[in-house]
């Protein structure tokens, strides 16, 4: 068994933010009570096996389990499977399931449920699981009711990171068999094996869950009831917490964090885990098909001109950290240290642009003089696409780049428009995307660099980056199961892409959870965040 990504920094931050008194209070769980959780969007349905939508996963994961869970370091721990072995150098995984697990309707959980979930639901409808495993999985066997064997064409390294309720929630075969999983009525009144049972779904308003008295983890859960209250406005969520109407927030806007932190009625913790995507880095993509951006000196100049500390300070209010490598620092074994990432150096940025043929003349914007593929006199003007919520990134980008003679036009686009514009039409010069690395580089990093990942699927290789060596290394990393042998592979990849700069990695963006001091026991690093939570009200 191999350890998952190491979240020591995350734990330290958690302890630093939660006061000693709260830590003591959290050690004494009490039974009963209702926890009210604010969620930002109506999920529409509660089947996390057919979507990667953060809204559905946030609201529904407590109803389900995965074969494995995650501990606070992100490492796999038993959940529906009590043990597992890795065979044939990682081409075969054998899982032993727990005995005596039942679905919420009383039906016995068996290996057939796991096989059905993978073959008929996850590998057809769960975008991430299908994209990562679909082409390499050869079959799933169930020699008996409590054994599941997953076979791959070749060694497949990230599997154990992909079996929690976020990546592979197990659904009931007897509920979904013979139906279309996307329209099955059970999606709105789900039956799972998880710590909480579905009670009611008031559309647009709330989802009510009740304690599963037959939960297979002895003594859990503590709470009698959880209410997921849909509150779209983040400001209202904070007011509702302060007014005692809700107990738990998935995120707190930067400007309001200091207010909550100063109030001893609340506790806070940062985590880079989120059901919609973990270990995220705000990343500027260059469209490498554009003649203006083909020259690495121009891309380096842009990287040098961006004061990434200012992004952290002014946009995130210090919540997060400046990225120091292309892979998130939360995946500690894959994150490369000591890379020569361009730092903030405006004079050097200007020098690189001059050398690349972009001259300062009468106007403040530079013009081309002898740039390959660009007519002389062309202004150095680029557009910058972003979600409306990321407008501040555009403002800083424009401000920083205008100081070195690059004219930036912001183009705010809603996600539904942004995705086809960037990935299908490739109609952009630069953009900013929150690329979430996930628990393993194979899940969330490969898609940014591998040449097979260039369009039209959303949130893949936005830069249009092609490097055969990088492709080979990623394929090698996916086939290598031993972590200490994978580390140098991902280091090589990062050294290459830092030289070639298809992207600029700006800031790592954890989120801050906040909750009432009357509650505790939260596991902010997993979708089953309230499995052991309690409230003293």
């Amino acid at each position: 068994m191999h350890r998952g990504y190491d979240g020591i920094a995350l734990v330290a931050l958690f302890l630093a933010l939660a006061s000693p008194t709260s830590a003591r209070a959290q050690e004494v769980p009490t039974r009963g009570g209702t926890l009210v959780v604010a969620i930002s969007a109506d999920p529409g349905h509660l089947n996390p096996a057919i979507t990667t939508s953060g809204a559905t996963h946030t609201a529904a994961e407590l109803i389900y389990n995965g074969l494995l869970g995650r501990d606070e370091r992100g490492d796999p721990v038993p959940d529906l499977a009590e043990s597992w072995t890795v065979e044939q150098a990682g081409a075969v995984y054998r899982f032993r399931l727990r005995d005596g697990v039942t679905w919420h309707d009383g039906t016995r959980f068996t290996a057939a449920d796991v096989k059905f979930t993978f073959e008929e639901v996850l590998l057809k409808f769960h975008a991430r699981t299908k994209a990562s495993m679909g082409s390499v999985l050869t079959g799933i066997d169930t020699p008996d009711d409590r054994t599941v064997v997953i076979r791959f064409k070749q060694p497949y390294a990230p599997l154990l990171q992909q079996l929690d309720a976020t990546e592979a929630p197990i659904v009931a075969r007897h509920v979904y068999q013979g139906s279309d999983p996307q329209t099955n009525p059970a999606n709105a009144s789900p039956i799972g094996t998880g710590p909480f049972k579905f009670v009611a779904y008031r559309k647009g308003a709330e989802i009510r869950l009740a304690r599963n008295p037959g939960y297979f983890k002895r003594g859990l859960p503590y709470l009698d009831e959880i209410v997921m209250r849909i509150i779209p406005d983040s400001g209202t969520q904070v007011l509702a917490l302060e007014n005692g109407e809700v107990d738990f927030l998935w995120g707190v806007p930067g400007p309001q964090q200091s207010r909550l932190q100063a109030d001893n009625r609340f506790r806070m913790a940062q985590t880079s885990y989120h059901p919609g995507g973990s270990n995220c880095i705000m990343t500027v993509s260059f469209n490498l098909d554009r003649p203006v951006l083909k020259d690495v000196r121009v891309r380096r100049a842009i990287a040098l001109a961006l004061d990434r500390e200012a992004f952290l300070r002014q946009i995130l209010f210090g919540e997060g950290k400046v990225a120091t490598a292309p892979i998130s620092s939360e995946i500690t074994w894959a994150h490369a240290r000591g890379l020569a990432l361009p730092g903030f150096d405006r004079p050097e940025a200007e020098r690189q642009l001059e050398v690349a043929g972009w001259k300062k003349e009468r106007e403040s914007t530079r013009v081309a003089r002898g740039v390959a593929g660009v007519a002389d006199g062309t202004r150095l003007a680029i557009d910058f696409l972003h979600f409306p919520t990321f407008a501040k990134y555009g403002e800083l980008m424009r401000q920083h780049l205008s100081a070195v003679g690059i004219d930036v036009t912001q183009r705010p686009l809603e996600p539904a428009v942004f995705a086809p514009t960037v990935f299908k039409d490739r109609a952009f010069d630069t953009n900013v995307i929150s690329y979430c690395n996930g628990p393993d580089p194979e899940i969330g990093v490969r898609r940014m660099y591998h040449s097979s990942q260039i369009g039209p699927a959303p949130f893949t290789n936005a830069a249009g980056y092609r490097n055969e060596r990088v492709d080979v290394l990623f394929d090698q990393g996916a086939r290598t199961v031993e972590r200490d042998r994978r580390t140098p592979i991902y280091r090589q990849i990062q050294e290459i892409v830092v030289q070639e700069l298809p992207y600029v990695w700006l800031v790592e963006t954890p989120t801050t959870r906040a909750w009432s001091a009357q509650c505790g026991g939260f596991r902010a690093w997993t979708g089953l965040f309230a499995e052991a939570a309690f409230c003293k009200r």
Binding site: G44, S53, T183, I230, E414, A457
Partner: protein
């Protein structure tokens, strides 16, 4: 006004709604944006997105999609929501009562209080009370509703603890019967007041102007000369002053469908406004088309009702 006239107006609704649906369909489908993200989630591969597009018919040519949609609508089937995976009619119908409750309360509040304040301002025209009411009305009308909502929540919920800041009910209690009704009423206060504030300003100013104009007419002067008390004169004037007000209140019927998007969002009020906003964000085309259909029908019918109310308020108006 004859039954034939009413019938003719009702028949006119059909081509109007059909035209609106056609325009809405083309506008939504030609606007940039791809619903596949809402349907499939992020991080899929190209084959998966192609599969989902094919499954929901999004890969078909636009004219074919239009024919399929119109045929379904003609049969009374608005299709399946991409996000909710359930019939659009059901998704919309679930939200109608909460939005109706909010809008009707706000309109009733703004109309009754607005008319009373308008009459008061007219009777005290030029005096400090009139000035204060006019200034207050102007301020209330000028303040953005989302800002007013935040301020109201801070002042009357956080500051005093009088009212909740979000939702239709208290999440910690499952109430039934009259206790449930009281709980909903308690949650209704702030959103209804905020929504009413903007409307109230308009109603007050319209009533004041209308009453002042009516009080300066010959019939009002005659009434006074005949020795009618001022209260009775104002009552006569008010009936004439109400005509423009009916137009304004009638035109607000569209709100019933689109909801007060901002107010519903700030107060987490689970109505049609929130549904509209989230459906735009996720490009849930079937739900958006359903909402357009409902909005256009409501506005057309509300206009008809307004016209009929005119005839009732002013017997001189005749429709043939």
């Amino acid at each position: 006004m004859t039954p034939r006239y009413v019938l003719r107006r009702l028949v006119q609704v059909v081509p109007a709604v059909a035209g609106i649906v056609l325009i809405a369909f083309l506008a939504i489908h030609t606007a940039p944006g791809d619903p596949v993200l809402a349907l499939a989630g992020e991080h899929g591969d190209a084959a998966y997105y192609a599969f989902i597009r094919a499954k929901f018919g999004l890969d078909r040519p636009l004219p074919e999609q239009l024919v399929v949609y119109v045929t379904r609508v003609a049969r009374g089937d608005l299709g399946l929501s991409f996000v909710h995976g359930r019939p659009v009619a059901v998704v919309i119908a679930e939200r109608v009562p909460t939005t109706l409750l909010l809008i009707v309360t706000a309109l009733a509040l703004s109309t009754t209080v607005g008319v009373a304040l308008g009459v008061l301002a007219a009777r005290r025209a030029g005096r400090p009370a009139d000035l204060a009411l006019r200034t207050g009305a102007l301020l209330a009308h000028a303040m953005p509703s989302f800002w007013l909502a935040q301020m109201a929540a801070i002042a009357f919920a956080l500051g005093t603890g009088w009212f909740p800041v979000q939702g239709l009910t208290d999440a910690r209690r499952s109430l039934i019967g009259w206790r449930y009704a009281l709980d909903v009423a308690h949650h209704l206060v702030l959103p209804a007041l905020v929504l009413a504030a903007g409307e109230l300003a308009l109603t007050t100013r319209l009533t004041r102007t209308g009453v002042l104009e009516a009080l300066a007419t010959d019939y009002a002067r005659t009434a006074r000369a005949k020795g009618l008390p001022e209260r009775a004169v104002v009552r006569h004037a008010l009936r004439n002053a109400l005509l423009p007000l009916v137009t304004v209140v009638g035109s607000r019927a569209g709100l019933v469908v689109t909801g007060a998007v901002l107010v519903e969002t700030v107060f987490a009020w689970p109505g049609l406004g929130q549904l509209l906003l989230s459906s735009i964000q996720t490009r849930d085309v079937p739900v958006l088309l359903g909402l357009f259909l409902l909005a256009s029908t409501t506005v057309i019918v509300a206009n008809l009702v307004t016209d009929l109310a005119y005839a009732w308020l002013d017997p001189r108006i005749r429709y043939e």
